[in-house]
Amino acid sequence: MPRDVPKLSLEQRLRIADTLRAWAGSHPYPDRPQIQLADGSELTPRDMARAAAEPESLRGRLLFRVFAAGTIEDNVERPETLEDILADYWKDIEARGSEKPEGPR
């Protein structure tokens, strides 16, 4: 892909997929566009979960590039791990009363 971003491991991608599936499942508006893209498409929470479940699809690849870019360390703010990033989605899930999954997050 065009941008040079860190590669996510399979385990990281699975964690993203699990998180987004739970997040979309708990979202009050899972079919409302969350992100507008300047290619004319949109991403809803359910789209994001679906994309993460299909890592070889165009949207799946985009989604994982975006998450990978999120882990780039720079001097703008304290570096964050994938766990830090996903924790915000789990805050929503827990606030909405959805079940916590088993195992590490």
């Binding site: 892909m1 065009p2 941008r3 971003v5 997040w23 979202h27 409302r32 566009p33 969350q34 992100i35 507008q36 893209l37 300047a38 290619d39 004319g40 498409s41 949109e42 991403l43 994001m48 985009l62 590039r65 975006v66 998450f67 870019a69 999120g70 780039i72 720079d74 703008v76 703010e77 990033i85 915000d88 989605y89 805050k91 929503d92 899930i93 606030a95």
Partner: protein
């Protein structure tokens, strides 16, 4: 010859949003001779005729692919007509145009330099203001201070950094949940790392 042709097709909801950003940028272009193709006026025929009439620079706010800037599924700007610029810049606030189209800058007659993105340009549907400010403030140094496009690219990156911090620190003020704000943060950061220039980046307006 005029200075800048703005093209803002506004052919769907995302493009309408980005077209407004273009309007805001044009407001800063007071000392330059500009023209504007917006909405239904943004057609291939009109773009071609305007470029033939003579513009140094083209600022595009809309949809893009790797090889084309598009509206209603049709290419309005591509390798064929971008060469009709008169030795200036193509600024493409659009997806993907930095992958192929932008790379001809400096080797194509008429197009000296390109500034755009080599991946998706994404913004949160319900809290777009920080991204709009990133683009309008990012490009403003070229209009207001006469800086070159290299400076504008750096400013654009810095302003996407500002946007991402805004989403992180003030997401609730925008009505975003923690996850919604993080999604916006992710796209602001992704946008920041997708900004590219090709060609002679010392070019000014």
């Amino acid at each position: 010859m005029k200075d800048i042709l703005f093209a803002r097709p506004a052919d769907d909801s995302a493009a309408i949003q980005v077209a407004v950003w273009g309007q805001a940028v044009r407001q800063r272009a007071g000392r330059f001779k500009t023209d504007d193709l917006s909405g239904s006026g943004a057609t291939r025929m009109n773009v071609d005729s305007q470029l033939a009439a003579g513009f140094r620079h083209l600022f595009w706010f809309g949809h893009g692919t790797e090889k084309e800037l598009i509206a209603n599924g049709k290419a309005l700007v591509d390798l064929k007509n971008v060469a009709n610029l008169k030795g200036g810049m193509l600024v493409a606030i659009a997806c993907y145009a930095g992958v192929t189209l932008g790379k001809v800058a400096g080797t194509t007659p008429g197009l000296r330099v390109f500034l755009g993105f080599d991946d998706e340009l994404g913004f949160p549907a319900s809290a777009v203001l920080p991204m709009m400010l990133a683009v309008t403030r990012g490009l403003s140094c070229m209009f207001q201070k006469g800086h070159d496009i290299s400076c504008a690219a750096q400013n654009l990156r810095k302003q996407f950094d500002v946007a991402r911090l805004d989403y992180k620190n003030n997401g609730a003020r925008y009505g975003l949940s923690a996850g919604d704000a993080r999604t916006a943060w992710l796209f602001a950061k992704s946008n920041r790392y997708s900004v590219v220039t090709f060609g002679d980046d010392t070019t000014t307006l």
